[in-house]
Symmetry: C3
Subunit: 337 residues, 3 copies
């Protein structure tokens, strides 16, 4: 599978076998992410962590993943004062920055910008989110989480029963996840949203073409029974014309422990792409779920490190060297995972 | 002493013996901070240097301390665009970020926020300043500096004679230092401030309960004689309702070489938490003191690196491994310390 | 040659022999910058990459250069909230920051600020640009590029024929490059600019005093024949009183493949300090030149890493140790250089 030197731009570039290969590499990264071993395989390599739009969580996750393989990280966190503001083309930015680093993660507010950048880059580029378009590593970490959570219940992605809840119109992550799920078999999806924020028709169509069962609803309780996963999302406030318009939808579908106990199966896993909006008016996943062992939202972000390590290891072709250049960690790492 | 895996949130969490243990570990960090040796004990570890309020000096000092032990640093430098602005709770932020790193330093504008964050963190958290509340490493580096400066004059913290000068009402560092001094014996404190900016009554009370002698005054010259330390502070402009209100107090107590020579003992040590305000209207410590060997203000910031290295080594439990995983530095490091 | 422990503040501090020594060291950095070998000679060293004015490209280039020698980078990217805004002097900032790091790169919006900072620093300081004054590493990388490009055509800097085009009044890089060229012999310079944006008289005078031939013109086509180098620049919009005033000059001198083919010699090298302004109204170097093998603009930025590595190696006195502490890179580095 040709990962060596490749760009990671879109989930549509992968076949199922490739995705499963990424996940098997991610599994092998656990001793490093869990701080049992430290690898130096990328000792001397530099990641250009180029965030032309802010995103603390994603930026730090990519940076940590590269550090955990032994590499260094140089980064930028805004666009305002950059050369782009002086009329520099993405072509030029890519030619210059790819002379500084061994791999580049790029986030940019405009759809398609990362692909344009990658075309001019001399090193592998990973899409860290390009506007409303794609955020492939989020979709991969979501699917990786689903697979791992199901595995612990002796189930597989084939045959999955999942509800997606909230702002399904603007939520980039659910669109991408649906595309990935179309590579698998025999899935039941329940799409719960306000009528005005329904999943785009072409996404639903693709799912049905893949042979999946799709139920569309604007009711929560009756639709979260008999599921493996409930995947909640926040209202994408920044996509609405005003906060007031977003307020119309915020807090419409709230999951809390009482509802969970009453309607969900005892092992139904709760996911969310984060950040969850914990303000009173929203609160799509109540804090009283925090001690519920099926709340997987922080396992999702933990898994993000594994998936990003796997992608770096694959595009830089060091998968089989990670263990060779490693040592036991020397510090107290607690029992946090 | 239970430092392993602990959070460092407040100076009130320490007993005197623990503080002295921190200082003895800080002493052992000197060859590394002074660039004679380089340690790799934390090779592979990641610090999450999370500054949700800007502070170049403190942020860089913590980052360097972690680097000097061989670790990597991922960081953030603002709050505006972060997930917190999208309604994420400190609980969620802590759960996520603690999955990325081996230790976290957090600075945040709200009192109590760092403790709330630490309660949800899976890794040790060090308070880098939470609003008006605490900045424990500043207090520790101040006391560590006092101890070292006195030692070179064959004196100890017990029996210390110190003046604190300036904005004693809003100056967080002097409050914390006073709390630490209450763990020691037989101290004389002279508190010099405008009447409106006096040290809070409960701080003075605590000092007196500890058996210390406290003199309160609004006169400089007559009160800086017969002292070991004069600790000057700037007016905390950002705490006043307007710059104009701060102007009423700025420049009220100025120490310069002429006053020093006339009133101070020849070995009186001059300290300041920095930044000192060198604008004409303020100038609480004149530049003509820069060549005075008793000006210890830059030894304070140098000591900050030692104290922060010590805290990292303690909470990650590598104190006795720092030397083992080290080598001589290979570059020209001059004679700067 | 006394580089050890020195500051790099201005190109005027160098003699020709010193510049050639820097370039010979830069040549030796190629296996590292080209990712054949990785050096750890600065393992444990910390660069303070202090950008008190934003500049993504220059900041990342310096940071990468230090990483490629095995060192760590701590950095800052703005001035607004720093201690300087609270009245801290450059003297204090320098005393503090130089206690944290082994070398400092500083960029600052005010002319002369970096020299003032360096005077108080305890470690070597490299000027990363101080307002309209100097940006010495840009001038060095430009000259280094000229030398390498000419060498591949069996020519030398002595005897060079070069045109400088565009905003020669405000373009800091062309001023500095002219100063450097005055150290060489027998050069022909064609200075092409709008009459209002001509090269300052004293720069022209210096060139003539050095025995060089200087032609001043406001016509492009007839003046770019029989040259080794055409060095294009963008209009320094930020120096004009309004964007509208800058618009008067933008796009006045455009080089594209048609003009190049018609007027230039087949091996004439095209340079630009970047960013080039690719907006329609400016477009001083057309994108249709991107496949022209004589377009050296990205070789310039690549060479910047080599020159900056050389300067770090020289001031920290590790030139002869870079190879000793090195290993082959372990990852796929492609064939990008």
């Amino acid at each position: 599978m040709g990962f060596r030197g490749s760009h990671i731009l879109s989930i549509t570039q992968f076949e199922r076998a490739e995705i499963e290969h990424i996940f098997s590499v991610a599994d092998r990264m656990e001793p490093y992410a869990h701080r049992q071993r430290a690898s130096k395989v990328l000792d001397g390599a530099i990641l250009g962590n180029m965030f032309f739009e802010p995103s603390t969580r994603t930026r730090v996750s990519f940076g940590c993943a590269f550090n955990l393989l032994g590499g260094e990280v140089r980064e930028t966190t805004g666009i305002k004062n950059s050369a782009i503001a002086k009329g520099e083309s993405l072509y030029d930015t890519a030619r210059v920055l790819s002379g500084y680093s061994d791999a580049i993660v790029m986030r940019h507010p405009e759809s398609g910008s990362v692909a344009e950048f990658a075309a001019a880059s001399r090193v592998p580029v990973i899409n860290g989110g390009d506007g409303a378009n794609e955020h492939p590593t989020q979709a991969l970490l979501d699917l990786y989480t689903i697979k791992k959570e199901l595995l612990s219940h002796d189930r597989t992605v084939d045959g999955l029963r999942i509800a997606m809840i909230g702002d399904l119109k603007y939520g980039r992550t659910v669109h991408s996840l649906c595309k990935l799920l179309s590579l698998y078999d025999n899935i039941k999806l329940v799409l719960i949203s306000p009528k005005e924020l329904q999943m785009p028709a072409e996404v639903v169509e693709n799912l049905r073409e893949a042979g999946h069962e799709v139920v569309v609803s604007d009711q929560l309780e009756e639709n979260i029974q008999h599921l493996d996963i409930v995947y909640s999302t926040r209202i994408q406030e920044e996509r609405f014309s005003s906060p007031e318009e977003a307020d119309l939808y915020r807090g419409r579908f709230r999951l809390n422990q009482t509802i969970y106990t009453k309607y969900c199966e005892p092992n139904t896993v709760i996911m969310h792409p984060l950040p969850r909006d914990s303000r009173v008016a929203a609160n799509e996943l109540d804090n009283d779920l925090n001690e519920n062992p099926n709340l997987a939202i922080f396992r999702q972000t933990d898994n993000g490190v594994l998936v990003r390590m796997a992608l770096f290891a694959l595009v830089l072709d060091v998968v089989d060297l990670v263990d060779k250049y490693s040592h036991d960690v020397r510090w107290y790492a607690g029992g946090r995972f």
